[in-house]
């Protein structure tokens, strides 16, 4: 028994040591650094000055809430409303718009994923069988640009209205046409576009807030996911469901120090 406790003690110490090692040094690293950062944040919260805090509620400006890929506000609004239909606000909590998912998607389209940087994009391109997977020569951000335009034109065709002027039910019907592959697109099918859209919405809802979505970790709170926890060693055998306040990866960032030439 004492041996067992000893081992546990060792484990905890080892865990903290390793954690410190993780981010390269005891001061400002990993777990210790995380704890320090959290402490600092708490102090700041009390002091009402928390420029780093990702609460989304404070008076601070979030400079990330801006378009990086889209440049036409109406197109961005179409994207936002389509995302909201996929993950709507309800009694459980916020939907895609209040979670900042549209910004997440916009930023993803501007980056590696939107540009298929890690996909095999050499030709020749052939449509292929469903079992052979995605074969479009278009990049994801090209598909989204076209897809948003097609949502607008399909709304006009179907209802003689802009997508943003449709009721929720009508918006759903437009999106269902895309989901079923009924809308003609170039170089890609509308169901492939819809699959991408649905997937990227769920990512923006549930990814760590460091990517710009999941504002205030509200989606994690709805779902009961505690985010980035260092250890469940003392909880894994629990017989009850444990509600744990989520933590984002910002808690792992060491306080950055300037080099002081003194």
């Amino acid at each position: 028994m004492s041996d067992q406790q000893d081992k546990k003690g060792m484990t905890r110490r080892e865990f903290i040591r390793k954690g410190g090692y993780v981010a390269g040094g005891v001061v400002g690293g990993g777990v210790l650094g995380g704890l320090i950062t959290q402490q600092t944040l708490k102090t700041n919260q009390k002091g009402q000055t928390s420029p780093q805090q990702d609460s989304g509620k404070g008076p601070e400006v979030s400079y990330q809430r801006a378009m990086m890929f889209f440049s036409n506000p109406e197109e961005f609004t179409v994207l936002s409303q389509a995302a909201e239909r996929i993950f709507p606000a309800d009694d459980l909590g916020p939907g895609a718009i209040d979670l900042d998912v549209p910004y997440y998607i916009d930023h993803q389209l501007a980056g590696t994923w939107g540009n298929n940087a890690r996909d095999y994009m050499m030709g020749p391109f052939y449509p292929g069988l469903e079992t052979q997977g995605f074969q479009s020569h278009l990049r994801r951000n090209e598909i989204f640009s076209q897809g948003i335009s097609k949502i607008q034109s399909h709304s006009q065709e179907k209802y003689k209205k802009k997508f943003t002027e449709l009721s929720e039910e009508e918006q759903d019907k437009v999106l269902i046409d895309f989901e079923k592959g009924k809308v003609k697109m170039d170089g890609v099918t509308s169901d492939d576009f819809f699959t991408l859209l649905r997937m990227v919405v769920l990512e923006g809802v549930y990814a760590d807030p460091l990517y710009g979505g999941n504002r205030d970790m509200a989606a994690w709170k709805m779902k009961g996911f505690p985010g980035n926890q260092m250890s469940y060693l003392d909880k894994i055998e629990a017989t009850d469901f444990l509600e744990i306040e989520p933590v984002s990866l910002t808690a792992h960032m060491p306080a950055q120090k300037k080099k002081s030439n003194g």
Binding site: R118, Y120, Y126, S231, I236
Partner: protein
């Protein structure tokens, strides 16, 4: 013009589990080893301070192979045009020091005694007709008993946590560390299995239940159950991986040189002997030739086959004639199983560890009577609590829309109210499932891509349906309100993630006409070339492959050391 470097005793192509084991064992014996790894080296504990990031690692595959540079092409049948796998999906190819050993879950099984002698044992018990036409089922040229000491050695290197499989082969020793902790989920499965008179045991885990020092003196830490294991690296050094075991062991000897960003494009050989390998330093953009007395292919299944084919070493397999061996017996797995939805209970399923789970082997191998069944083999049924992460886990009962209000409500509700029990169903080799070179598509270095021709077979479908029925009973016994089984087995599809347990292509055996390597993983066609990995499995069992692959790597290292002294064919 490639620059020729000084000769070494042993060169490994790839530095993951197999390359690391070969390097450690040979370097300890005084052989000079050069490890060529095409990826980078930023994959150690200190590189994982931001690893609890589902999007980056589990969805965008940060640790996996960059398929913009190299992928495979795929078709279901020989009369179709193969097309590139443009994105990772069905399986996740690793890249970088430690290979898939960095981002694996850590399930570390031993294949069953039945597996190694599958043909003889099937015929002995059920007669010749049990093996249907065009299934290339064959013995491995080694028995479980012969391999047992190597299983033991690999488990001790890793410090595997577990308890003996009541239906498994004989063990010379217990697992080096005790089983992982039990949770509400794993206990529920164990209790149900016991009530059904099955034989549950704790999943053999490379996420360690306690701190451990292995026989090479490498220290591993106890798992924190943080739930970021599969597709992630471990920031605690608590998951056995080459980077915390065999690679440091190899380095300590002073006989091992690790070269990263070294992408091997050819095995150079003459008159049945390799003289070395040609590789591209992808940072410098320059070509080198590394001469060696022994060349060891220790990359993933795909690349082991590809390198032999592009180097024209060994006879390529031809499905029409049935002749040739390289690319033969490519196998995968099937994934039947059942999911239970619970209305009243809520589980801490967001916690876990990659290999935290319970297993029953009652439906695996030949542990049940197949006399009246239209298939052979089976699969291990596992409940594992690896940690449900929120992007990837949105379980809803069938019939639920996949987006919108109802989806949101149900996916949130059932996120913590779902348990799945799944198999890895064994995969039998089939004449028309194979690997060769693609005639059209090339990688970033101008080398042809590997082409996979693969589909599920009648054997797969029959086994799949049978296994679904068994897991359904277990899940019912576990008290789920709704039980849903895995859907019908359609054509193999390369898009959805299934499993990174690809095997075959350079298989072992005792007959050179139907195998490429002997039971030391030594090539029949070139004495000084060893091809190590799951590429040597003649079929795939109902388990994760790493335990067996590790054992075969230890045996191969023994063979290489022996060959270095005496030369010649070892078996």
């Amino acid at each position: 013009m490639a620059k020729t470097l000084p000769k070494t005793d042993v060169v490994t192509v790839g530095v993951g589990w197999t390359g690391g084991i070969i390097a450690a064992e040979c370097a300890k014996e005084g052989l000079k080893v050069v490890g060529l790894e095409r990826g980078g080296d930023k994959r150690n504990s200190e590189d994982f301070s931001m690893v609890h990031d589902e999007l980056r690692y589990a969805i965008r595959y940060d640790l996996m192979q960059d398929v913009s540079k190299e992928t495979i092409t795929f078709r279901n049948k020989g009369n179709q045009r193969a097309l590139p796998m443009r994105q990772l999906g069905s399986f996740l190819l690793g890249e970088g020091v430690g290979g898939s050993g960095i981002h694996w879950n850590g399930h570390t099984f031993r294949f069953l005694p039945y597996d190694f002698e599958i043909k003889s044992k099937t015929i002995e018990k059920y007669g010749k007709n049990k093996i249907k036409k065009d299934y290339l089922i064959q013995d491995w040229g080694i028995t479980y008993d012969e391999l047992e000491p190597y299983f033991d050695k690999f488990e001790k290197t890793c410090g595997i946590s577990g308890e003996p499989n009541p239906l498994g082969g004989k063990r010379s020793a217990d697992y080096p560390t005790p089983p992982m902790k039990k949770t509400v989920i794993t206990k529920k499965f164990r209790d149900a299995a016991e009530k059904l008179k099955l034989h549950p045991y704790s999943l053999p885990s490379a996420n360690l239940s306690t701190d451990y020092t292995n026989p090479d003196g490498e220290k591993l830490n106890a798992c924190q159950y943080c739930a970021f294991c599969e597709r992630f690296g471990c920031e605690y050094g608590a998951k056995s991986s080459p980077n915390v075991t065999v690679i440091p062991t190899a380095k300590k000897t002073g006989n091992f040189e690790l070269r990263t960003h070294a992408n091997v494009v050819e095995i150079i050989h003459k008159n049945g002997k390799a003289t070395g390998v040609r590789y591209i330093d992808t940072l410098k953009g320059e070509e080198y030739i590394q001469p060696a007395d022994v060349v060891v292919l220790t990359s993933y299944v795909m690349n082991n086959s590809k390198l032999l084919l592009v180097s024209k070493l060994g006879q390529p397999y031809n499905p029409d004639t049935g002749k040739g061996v390289i690319g033969r017996n490519y196998c995968y797995q099937i994934l039947p199983g059942s999911t239970g939805f619970y209305e009243k209970e809520r589980f801490n399923s967001y916690m876990g560890a990659g290999a935290l789970g319970e297993v029953v082997d009652d439906f695996n191998g030949d542990n049940f009577d197949h006399s009246d069944l239209d298939f052979i083999h089976g699969g291990a049924l596992v409940v594992s609590q690896a940690g449900y992460r929120p992007i990837g886990n949105n379980p809803v009962p069938s019939g639920t829309p996949l987006w919108g209000k109802e989806f949101k409500q149900k996916s949130i509700k059932y996120y913590t109210r779902t348990i799945s029990a799944g198999y890895q169903g064994a995969s039998m080799p089939y004449r028309y499932n194979y690997l060769d070179l693609d005639p059209n598509y090339k990688d970033a270095y101008g080398v042809p891509l590997l082409r996979m021709t693969y589909n599920y077979t009648e054997q797969d479908r029959n086994l799949y349906n049978y296994l679904n029925k068994q897991s359904h009973k277990v899940m019912k016994e576990m008290g789920a309100d709704i039980v849903e089984d895995s859907g019908e087995l359609m054509d193999y599809n390369i898009v959805p993630y299934q499993t990174t347990h690809n095997v075959g292509g350079v298989i072992m055996g005792d007959d050179p006409s139907i195998s490429a390597v002997n039971n030391y993983s030594q090539m029949w066609d070139a004495d000084n070339v060893f091809v190590v990995g799951a590429s040597s499995f003649p079929h795939n069992s109902g388990y994760n492959p790493t335990g067996t692959l590790g054992a075969l790597a230890y045996r191969a290292s023994e063979g290489i050391i022996q060959y270095s002294k005496k030369g010649g064919q070892l078996a």
